[in-house]
Subunit: 510 residues, 2 copies
């Protein structure tokens, strides 16, 4: 498992073809919404309601601690023998691993283990399973739903030292660990782009089935991950580390571990199919007068850009206001209710430019088309006070209705209700801001937002997972038969429930 | 679940750019290797070794019948009440459902049930589970490994009447049942192309994780299937029929049913993401002097054709001889040891033609490049007598070594040893012919072919599945921990083992 370093930007080759774009020269200097972790303030400490359990009004709160053993001096002695320099108990060093990236959830683990090999992970889990000690696997700790930090005193099992590239094969695929420049040098790229997230790990990406910006083009990790090595709760090593593009020999077990947020096993190695690095990357920024027009533009775009379309994202005017207000970013085009970011990636620069020209000529007749910057909305939102974040999948024509309905529903209670996201994937990031944490506002948002999503057969977590915060809302997106089956799978693979407890599955399975 | 009809051919727009192509005008009249089922002869009746079980020398033979109940008059009365016109017991009508497409495996089921609704499937399975009656789910019955026909007297549960398109949404995806023209009319296509197989069903495609010709471009069904509705062994209906491109709420249960060959549940509805119909499709046919040169051409092709490459397939000179001998097809280009079929599919005809021209100009300097026909190798092979068929995944640079090693290993024992397949997926179809079935030849091929594949960490079934014939060879591609876990999943979902018994999982789990 490897550190998935901040991904080197592909050389953007923007096209400037209309004079309506006065700030063009600065419009391309902004990265993909990179958020600097160290500059984040702790805005809110997640209240665990320890011992009380999640109340009906706050199903995301922590449940009571389950009766796991507590770490003893004998346990520490075992770990220190196994990992002499890599058993961390210094509270200062533990602090950053106990709190999540958004600084909203904090555990109080007293032990951080940093194995380097699969065998070490196996020995740790075998020991913890026998001793009934709970374990929280942690990659880059960049999750947004409280899945990557301990809730109570779970042992933190960090995979940060498991960062070797095992093999690279430029025909069949690559068994990867430390990527980024490694792949770039070989003229390949990763099929997912989470460059903005800075320090996420590929093992964590796979555990959470991370989406990101390239999904529209290369599909999800369920298609691009070719193989996994996983250590099960009792220490058994499951080697499904194939590098084959096709293999129909029995059930595809690796799929169980993709997106299960560390609750079924710890991923110790990944084999992934990497696409060729595109020769040409272009970015366009457009304004639209309505969401309906934005959808029509998307349809036109899919038809005319076809196979080179790699991203189609949107933001609304409220997002643009926040970018101006907090980050001093300039809107390079005429004020519009909606803005679109389109990226193309292809093998022939001249062809791609021509396709983009043709497309823009087509849509220029009906919308304000211009080139401009890429987005830093999430960063701007952090300056607003407290943000309630929702990651919703819906039929694409419904995604902005939710934002508008929510505005009407909340009225003056919210400071801002903004929408942005991946149009190509039907994935809305709905963000509602408030000067500070506000239980009355929260009660107005939830379960309203989940009920709305469920009514339109959407997903209450498109790409962020359920983690701690959303585990009890699973029934809004999955029928009880499905949740029951998930519970059976959990019980089969982790009978003592030591792996990432309190996450993903709800407190009570109907 | 729908009938996946013979897919209307996309309009091929071939380019003729070199005069070295004398038979060009006829070279494009051949379809994608369509095999007419009704013209197939029964070449061999698979010997089940009933009651004896698979012997070490023939692990693909049927095991002893398990102690399931036998169908009684009371059972028939129940089925006839539930499905008055759709409970078939006429031996003549049952015959074609008892024998596989290759005519190599034959069961003796006495009941064929043809439900029309999910509720009927649920009632059938609930009844069979209570009565301990074994069930063989059957779609189009086009499988190649004996997975789709009963081994003994299992009840055949045919999904052929479950062929309705439920919804079609040209933005988010489509919940589909009867496809083909339906999609073409709406300017979309299926992400998999099994047009050659004539009568396969989409439910069966998903159950077997069918690969096919478009996998290189659109990826496997694990990425394109958005949702499934499945009836479990005890009749419970599991509704995971989402139409969302992204959904990270809990474990992705649908993956358990994709590729599990009907042993974990019966798929009753499928939701699948369909790509836009490409505006331009081109096909090129090239000759190569060595497999090494073929691989170099593949690398060059991936770089220069990039995102429009939709297929890269190969055949060897032995295949070409069989096409000439049995089907009177003419080789339109100079005799070569290897031939390549390249297909491109894109949104801009002029761009695609230019890319293809550039690519061909590049490779023309080092290989004989020409346009020509598409292949009908499988059909030609059926004229050779008996064919031992293997569907192997390997690192792509190794795939032809297996053919050559096998030729040396078998010497004069085999009539022909031929190789063809999907280079882009590292997938070899190795076929060994003999005038008739030959146990001595078989003993020379197996387990040699499996050991060879295992040594290079390949898959002994890239896309055909394990079914009955290959179930006991699973350990060549999967470690025993993985097979044990598959057994646990089977026991969890189908505790009585009534669903498609004797298939996929080995007779003995270590």
């Amino acid at each position: 498992m490897g550190i998935f370093q901040r991904f080197a930007r592909l050389p953007l080759k923007p096209l400037c073809i209309w004079s309506l774009c006065p700030q063009y020269s600065t419009a391309f200097t902004v990265g993909r919404g990179l958020i600097v972790r160290s500059s984040q303030l702790i805005q809110h400490r997640y209240v665990h309601s320890r011992g009380l359990g999640a109340s009906p009004g706050n199903l995301g709160a922590a449940p009571p601690r389950l009766p796991f053993s507590r770490v003893t001096q004998e346990d520490l002695a075992f770990f220190k023998t196994l990992l002499p320099e890599r058993t961390i108990t210094d509270p200062d060093l533990l602090k950053s691993c106990n709190v999540d990236w958004l600084k909203t959830v904090e555990g109080n683990s007293e032990v951080l283990l940093r194995p380097k090999t699969t065998e070490e992970v196996s020995q740790i889990l075998r020991y913890c399973n026998e001793r009934n000690l709970a374990v929280c696997p942690q990659g880059g700790n960049t999750g947004l739903v409280g899945g990557s930090v301990p809730v109570f005193d779970e042992i933190i099992l960090s995979t940060s030292l498991m960062n070797q590239v095992i093999t690279f094969d430029n025909i069949s695929g690559c068994v990867l660990e430390n990527l980024s420049n490694y792949l770039e040098e070989r003229d390949f790229i990763m099929p997912l782009d989470l460059g903005a997230k800075g320090s996420c790990h590929i093992g964590g990406n796979v555990s959470t089935n991370a989406g990101g910006l390239r999904l529209l083009r290369y599909g999800s990790l369920r298609g691009t991950v070719l193989g996994l090595e996983v250590v099960l709760a009792d220490g058994r090593v499951l080697n499904c580390l194939a590098t084959l593009r096709k293999d129909n020999t029995g059930y595809d077990l690796k799929q169980l571990f993709i997106g299960s947020e560390g609750t079924l096993g710890v991923i110790t190695a990944v084999s992934i199919l990497c696409p060729r690095k595109p020769r040409a990357v272009n970015v366009a920024f457009l304004g639209c007068s309505s969401f309906q027009q934005l959808l029509e533009t998307f349809q036109c775009c899919r038809g005319m850009l076809g196979e080179i379309l790699s991203a189609f994202e949107f933001l609304d005017a409220s997002c643009m206001s926040l970018l101006k207000k907090h980050l001093k970013l300039t809107n390079p085009i005429t004020e519009s209710p909606f803005y679109i970011v389109i990226e193309t990636a292809g093998s022939n620069a001249a062809h791609d430019e021509e396709k983009l020209h043709n497309f823009l000529e087509e849509v220029m007749s009906s919308s304000i088309a211009l080139w401009s910057l890429r987005e830093r909305i999430t960063e701007a939102l952090t300056h607003e006070g407290y943000t309630y974040k929702y990651d919703i999948s819906l039929p694409v024509e419904k995604i902005y209705d939710l934002v508008q309905d929510m505005r009407g529903h909340l009225g003056g209670m919210a400071k801002n209700v903004v929408g942005y996201g991946h149009v190509g994937d039907g994935n809305l990031h709905l963000n509602i801001t408030s000067p500070s944490k506000d239980p009355v506002l929260l009660a107005a948002i939830e379960p309203y937002v989940y009920e709305w999503t469920s009514e339109w057969k959407g997903s209450i977590s498109a790409e962020h997972g359920l983690g701690l915060k959303k585990r009890n809302y699973i029934y809004y997106s999955k029928p009880s038969e499905a949740v029951a089956l998930m519970g059976s799978i959990k019980a089969m693979l982790d009978p003592k429930g030591i792996l990432n407890p309190y996450k993903t599955l709800p407190d009570h399975i109907h």
